[in-house]
Structure formats: C-alpha cells, structure tokens
Amino acid sequence: MTLANTEPQALNFECETGNYHTFCPISCVAWLYQKIEDSFFLVIGTKTCGYFLQNAMGVMIFAEPRYAMAELEEGDISAQLNDYEELKRLCLQIKRDRNPSVIVWIGTCTTEIIKMDLEGLAPKLEAEIGIPIVTARANGLDYAFTQGEDTVLASMAARCPDKAPVMEAEKKERNAIASLLNFGKKKEDVVVEESEYVKHPPLVLFGSLPDPVVTQLTLELKKQGIKVSGWLPSKRYTELPVLEEGYYVSGVNPFLSRTATTLMRRRKCKLIGSPFPIGPDGTRAWIEKICSVFGIEPKGLDEREAQIWASVEDYLQIIRGKSVFFMGDNLLEISLARFLIRCGMTCPEIGIPYMDKRYQAAELALLEKTCHEMNVPLPNIVEKPDNYNQIQRIKEQNIDLVITGMAHANPLEARGINTKWSVEFTFAQIHGFTNARDILELVTRPLRRNNSLKDLGWDKLVKEEAKI
C-alpha cells in the first residue's frame, strides 16, 4: 500500500443497480415551453404522466401553460382508435385555441411500448395542418430528468435552417438572429458593432437557459471578441439559428450529449469540447477553450475570476473543509462537484444517472485537475446509483451536506443530515461568472439555517430505528 501514492490516481467509475429517484424526463416541458415562447408541448401519455406534471410543476399549472396531455385511453392502447385521427383532432384543437408556431410531441413510456410511430405520423400531420411538429422521445425507459431537454433539442437541431437567408449584398450578417438584433439600427452602427468582434467561424451555443443568463454568457464572449451567431433553442421557434456545415458549436450544459452528437453527425458542425460554464472556474475554462479553438488570446480572465472568488469569500468560509455527497439525479453533478471542490469542499461520491465520458471529457479532466490542485481525494463517480446503498454510505461517512432529490431530503434532515434539493440547481441561474454566488447561496442555505438552530438540540427527530 505504500506504493499507492507514487502514481497519480485516476477517477474511479462505478455502476450500480439504477434504483434511484429522479424526475421523469417529460418534466423538461416545464422550462422549455417557457423558454420557447411560440411553442406548444403535447405530452402523449397516460394519467401517470399527467399526475407527475401536475404535481411537480406546482403553481405553474394554473398559469394556462402552453402544454397539455394527450391522455391515452384504453381504446388507444388496444388500437381501437386510430392514432393519426386522434392526434389530428387534438392538434387542430390546439391550433384553434393557441395557434403556436410549433407543436412538440413528447413521446412517453407508453408510446414506446405500444410502438406508436410518432416520427412517422408527424410529417404527414404537419403537412395536413400546416404547423411544424417536432417529436422527442423523452421517456423514463431511456432517460432521466434533464435528459428530456436533450431529446427535444436533438430533434430541434434537425429543424434549424441550413442556409442563412439571402440578404441584400451590402448586409454582412450571417443569420436571422443578428439581423433581428440589429433591427432598426443604422447600417453604419452595425458595421461598427461588427468590428468589435474578431473574425472567426460562426459559433452557435446549445442548451436552454433563462434569457438573462443567455445575455450574460453572450456578453462574456463578446468581451473576448467572440460573436455568438445563434442559440439552440432561441426565444422563438421561428428564430432557430442557422446551422451550416463547418459551424462551431458548444454546449452549456452537461446533459446535452445527444444534441451534441446530432449537431456533429447530422449537421456536420464542429463541437468545442470544454468544461461547462458553471462556477467561475468552469466559466473561465469554457471561455479559454473557445478562445483557443479560434486562436484568440483571452483577455482579463485572471482578474475576472479572482474578483468573483473574492466576492464569495463569505460563503466559502462556511463550506471550506466540509464534505458533500451527490446522490445523483440531474446530470449537473460532475460540474457542481468540480466547482465545490474548488471552493474547498471534499466530495467522496458523485452519483449521476448517466455518464457520457466523451461529451463530458473536458469536464472530467478539469475535475481531476481540480482535485490534484486542491489536494483532495478523487471522488467515486457512481453511474445509475442505488439510493438504498447510498444512504448507508452517507451514514457511514458522516457527510456534511447531501445534494439529493425531494424524496430523500426530509427523511435525511430528520436524521440530522443536512440536505439541499438537487432540483433547485436545475431551475436556478447557475451559469457564468455572475451566478457563482447563486450556486453558493443554494449550497450554503441548509448550513446557514442549521447553524442558527444548532443550539436547540433538535438534530435527530426520529427515534433510533431498531436493527433486526
């Protein structure tokens, strides 16, 4: 055992039973319908799917959302009813009531099992009713939680225009978005604005982020002279970015491996593999990688990163030296763990539903590097974790903070273990330099709360369980 330390350790990957709790991937409609303003999401499934959406989305359901269930009845399952006719009836109703620019069909477990040919039906119906229909198989048989977005964006990628609309000769914009952004500006202003950018091949970013974060990241790249030609998805379906062969693409979220694959193979784009812009360290690495691909010398990143770290010092003091355990349910785990280790935490285990080592390669390398630099042991990365086993490990290892789904949070708290709901990381703004503080606000909240209660002696609120 004395020889063990001479070689640098490598990350250790395991795979358990897949007995873990996560959200169904159809939950992606909740944020995607808000992001894509002219869309309508139709989830073709059963009462089970509907019940999940209704309860998981809480108050959002009452805001007349642009999503609905096509609830399958016994006649649909036994093919007594004609799928095409049924879907046509519902889609015409949607067209009449909402008139969206796109209807997204979300295939579920049931449509998989009864082999409903959504991909086949969609083009026919699309032609008949005159609204684009995008199909995505976001089902629990194959995917977990955020991977739902991946399936939708992969399908959307096929719909992006492949040629920039032909403009008048004097206009230099490469795509529709830029011309929209420049709408109303004088030609000279546009030229001036163009000159702020370095000349580089078009870059399209993919991943659904709240609009303020889109602006922040776009401006962050602008500071380096990099122009973002488009974003998949954009605010409206009608504004999907142009994707020509040879364009560069970069993912902003770790769960977008299918989208990345589709962009590379089907759209012949070049993927910039980088760590994800989560935390100031990740954001910096992301920018540096894009700069290096375009042969640009990054400017001012040192100061920018240092300034962010200095501004969160009060939070770092709370978590430094503490341990964090990711039970795993949303695929953000590797990036968040890498950031928290850089913050001074230790992390014995990272649970994750699915690990794409190729798409996340740069992120994994940064995680490894971060561990070495911070001089902490490398975490075990557990794919398809088993929640029961994990809880035993959490108890043994005396973990300071467990990042977990809502099914386990209250029971763990009752046993004196600090928890943070993982779902919040999916909905909070966590990308870029600006939002590092928001991540730490979430991470430290249970510790700050429990700090203020600590003298009350209310740690363990369940009676000791009898061991049989």
């Binding site: 019940y51 009452f62 959302p65 269930m69 009845e73 399952i77 029961y388 099914a407």
Partner: protein, 508 residues
C-alpha cells in the same frame, strides 16, 4: 385520446401506494420506469414525512422491454425482504406494466417462496380505475389476505369484544385532513363509550388485521376509501357498518344515532340523545353560530361546491341546511359514484354537476358568479382569477392543506372548523356591508391618487366618488374597464360622463 392538463383523481397506483404505505412495515415495489416514484416526493413534501417512504421501483427499462423483467422483479422483492424485513411487500403495477402484460402474479409466487415477508400483487387495472377506486380495492385486498391467512392457520379470534367496539376504516396517507379526522373520531368514540378496536390502514400493522372481526361494527368515514373492505367484512362475518360521514352537526348526529341502533341491536343498551343534544347546543359552536347574527348575513348568499363525493356532499348539506346559504350547484369528480352523490345533494342545491373536466367547472363558476367557492386547489385558482374567495374542502391539495395545527373536518370539533372556514371564505359579511355603505376604505383623495399611481389617467372628484359607490368586489374591474375605455378614446381625465360612457360601451 383526451386533451387535458389537470386531473382531479390520480392514477391507480397512487391509490395502491397510499394504502400500502399507510400501514406500518409494508413495502411497495412499483413495476415502473424510472421517474414514476413521484409518490415518494409527495409523501415527503406534502405530508412532511420524517421517514423514507416505503416505496421503491423495480425499474422497467429498454432491457425489460426487450427481454421481460425475468429475475429483476423477484430479485428486487427478495432484496427488500432482507434489507427492510417488511411484513408485507405489495407489488404495484403501473400504466406501463399494465400494457407490458408480464405475469406479475408469477413473480409474486416465485418471490414468496424465498421471502420471510408476505408478497401480494395489487389487483388494479390502470385504464379502468382511478386513485380512489384503487385505494379502496387495495385496502380490501390486504384485509382479505390476512383474514384468509388467519383462517387457514386457525388463529382467527373468536367472538366480539366485551364492550362495544369499532374499527375505523379508510384513514390513509395523503388523505385530506385524515390524521386530524382520525383523532377526532377516536375522541368521539371515547365519548360514546365505544372502544376503538383497529384503525386501518393508517398506522396499522398487518398482523392485527385478523382482529378486525372482534369489533361490533365498522365505521367508514369516507365514501371513497374503505367501503369495499367494510362490505367484505359484512359478507364474511355479518359485521354491520356505518357509512354516514360525521361531517356537520346534523350528519354527525345521524351517524351517532345509527351507531346507537347498531350496538343496541348487538346487545348494548345506550341512549346517545342527551350527548347529541348537549354537544349540539352547548359544546360545539356550530349550531350557535348558525343562529348568531353573523351567520344571518350569509342568508341567501350564493355558493358553489365541488370536490370528492364525501366532502362535496357534506359541505353542500352544511351550507344549505345548517347555514341557509344558497348552493347554486354542487358537483363531484367521482363519476363512478354519481348516483349516490345526486341522491345525497339534489334537494340541497339547484343543480348537480358530475365531471372530471376542470374547464367545465371553471366555466360553471364564472357563469353563476357565487360569493364563495368551496372546492379543490383548482377551484381556488379559478377563484383567484375571478376574484371570488374559495375555501378548500377536498383533494387535490397542496402543502398548505396539510396543516400542522389541529383541523379536523369530522365530528364536533370538525363542525367548528368548517364554520370558521365557511365564515372566513365569504368576504366578512358585516365588513362588506359597511364598505358598501361608506364607499370603501379610501375616503381620502390623497390615498386614492397613490393607489392609482400606475395609471396615467386622473379621476376627477365626482368620478372618484361615483367609483367608490361601486361595490367593493367589482370596483377594481370597473376601474380597469373605465381606464381602458378612456385610454382608447384619448380622454386624460375621467369624469362621471366618461365613466358611464364606458359602462355603456361594455353593455353593463
């Protein structure tokens, strides 16, 4: 196919899980894809359960689709048997497993050879029954399993308890105010000198199910869960049951009288009339509230009621019979129980609506413009949109409907809680009246200016005074309509003339 984004009752497996996880030391294994264990989140979040929800998934994934579950389900059952040593494992089918048509019965048989715990397959069809029906079925199934087991082993207890006793059937996890109702019912039974033999399923052990026949009778407080179990026990052991929900003063009395009749027939000699009288007139405040001048102000006010059969029927009767409120329509989403519901409430409301369509209910509310709504969380949101107060009386419910404080709906304390709920839901009668007389709170012009700061339009003094005469609950709407009208026509100042021109333009 049906276009929907809201449902009142959940899918069948939720019902099964609610019953199985209400029992102590019963574990449910769902045959389902990853992500279908949302029930655990609801238990943990809504009920704020301190313990891990005893539900796990035996996941259905691509491999299962291609090759069948094979050993997977059996392995998961035997594994849970070792890890948690439950008394019973309930294999729970979901919509997914319903169409896979795997022989789950066979898995159960194979697994039970190796397990110490009993193993059972919940016998529910996803496409035919909903959450409530499935809960009812599962409860009967578990009761039957343990009665038959005891009978086979010959350790079914003989005879009845010495003193009159009762089983309370149907208290369950995630039920609307079920825990509080249970406490109140136990208290009521104690007052009546009746022993509580067993409460199922909440907090019960399956080992005690064989003791059910020892009770003199069964009490089923809710229409939705427990009737099937009660009927089974009646059929097997001739046990009478009381299915009158003790909710509201009159119904509580009716329930108690029925109990009296049953236990006297069983050999007791009790007379509860004095108790009922004393509670009604002097202990519970609800009867006195009905007589008080507060409640007088509610006379003839319009209300609508919607919920599950139990609560919607009970509330309709309370509002109409005990408070003199005009129930324009009463409705339920328990379509399978429509006959019973119609019979119960027909004489207490103008119209009965039975539907699972929330859109239809929203329209029906907008149409009648009641002063108050009593419904589910969905109706509460409709009320918010229409600016009509709503008291929540039935599931589906949110976390705020799992109060920490003691808030039963059943029994005499329940009548007090309901009186508060009803009274607070109507815009407080006297206050409303005074506001109408004195033209609202805002009698100082300067404050009025402040409140309308978001608008670029000025109201002159006369128009403002006229606006103040509009009853409070529609004043905001009149103000908005008038301002819109004025803006459209380019008026800068709103005068009384403009106001009435606006009124005419909308045909009001």
């Amino acid at each position: 196919m049906k276009l929907a984004y809201w449902m009142y009752a959940g899918p069948a497996h939720i019902g099964t899980l609610r019953v199985s996880s209400s029992f102590k030391n019963v574990h449910a294994i769902m045959h389902a894809p990853i992500g279908d264990d949302y029930f655990n989140v609801m238990r943990s979040m809504l009920e704020r359960d301190r313990n891990f929800t005893p539900v796990t998934i035996s996941s259905v994934d691509r491999n299962v689709l291609a090759r069948g579950s094979q050993e997977k389900v059996v392995d998961n059952i035997t594994r849970k048997d070792v890890e948690e040593s439950p008394d019973l494992i309930v294999l729970t089918p979901t919509c997914t497993s319903s169409i896979l048509q795997e022989d789950l019965e066979n898995f159960v048989e194979r697994a039970s050879i190796e397990t110490k715990s009993d193993v059972m397959l919940a016998d529910v069809n996803h496409y035919r029954v909903n959450e409530l029906q499935a809960a009812d079925i599962t409860l009967r199934q578990i009761v039957q399993l343990y009665i038959e087991k005891a009978r086979k082993k010959g350790d079914l207890p003989e005879g009845k308890t010495e003193k009159p006793s009762v089983n309370i059937i149907g208290i369950s996890s995630l039920g609307f105010h079920n825990h509080h109702d249970c406490t109140e019912l136990k208290r009521l039974m104690a007052d009546l000198g009746i022993q509580v033999n067993e409460v199922i399923p909440e907090g019960a052990s399956v080992h005690n199910l064989k003791n059910l026949p020892k009770a003199w009778f069964n009490l089923v407080p809710y229409r939705e869960i427990g009737l099937m179990a009660a009927r089974y026990l009646e059929q097997e052991f001739g046990m009478p049951y009381v299915d009158i929900t003790p909710m509201g003063v009159v119904e509580t009395a009716r329930c108690i009288r029925k109990i009296q009749q049953i236990i006297n027939a069983g050999g007791a000699d009790v007379d509860y009339e004095d108790y009922i009288n004393n509670q009604t007139l002097y202990v519970s405040q609800a009867a006195w509230f009905s007589r008080s001048i507060d409640c007088q102000n509610l006379t003839g006010k319009k209300a609508v009621v919607f919920g599950d059969s139990t609560h919607a029927a009970a509330l309709t009767k309370i509002l109409a019979r005990e408070m003199g409120i005009h129930v324009v329509w009463a409705g339920t989403y328990c379509k399978y129980d429509a006959e019973w519901f119609k019979e119960e409430v027909s004489e207490y409301c103008d119209e009965v609506i039975v539907t699972e369509d929330h859109g239809l209910i929203g329209d029906a509310i907008a149409r009648v413009e009641p002063s108050a709504i009593f419904g589910t969380q969905m109706e509460r949101h409709v009320g918010k949109r229409l600016n009509i107060p709503c008291g929540v009386i039935a599931a589906p419910i949110h976390v705020q409907n799992f109060p920490i404080g003691y808030k039963p709906f059943c029994g005499y304390e329940g009548t007090n809680q309901i009186a508060d709920l009803v009274y607070n839901s109507f815009t407080l009668g006297m206050e409303d009246h005074l506001l109408e007389i004195f033209g609202g709170h805002d009698t100082k012009e300067v404050i009025t200016k402040g409140i309308s700061a978001d608008s670029d339009l000025g109201w002159n003094k006369e128009a403002q005074a006229e606006l103040n005469k509009v009853p409070g609950f529609v004043r905001g709407k009149v103000k908005r309509n008038t301002e819109k009208f004025a803006r459209d026509r380019g008026f800068n100042v709103i005068t009384v003339e403009v106001m009435y021109a606006a009124k005419e333009s909308v045909g009001a």
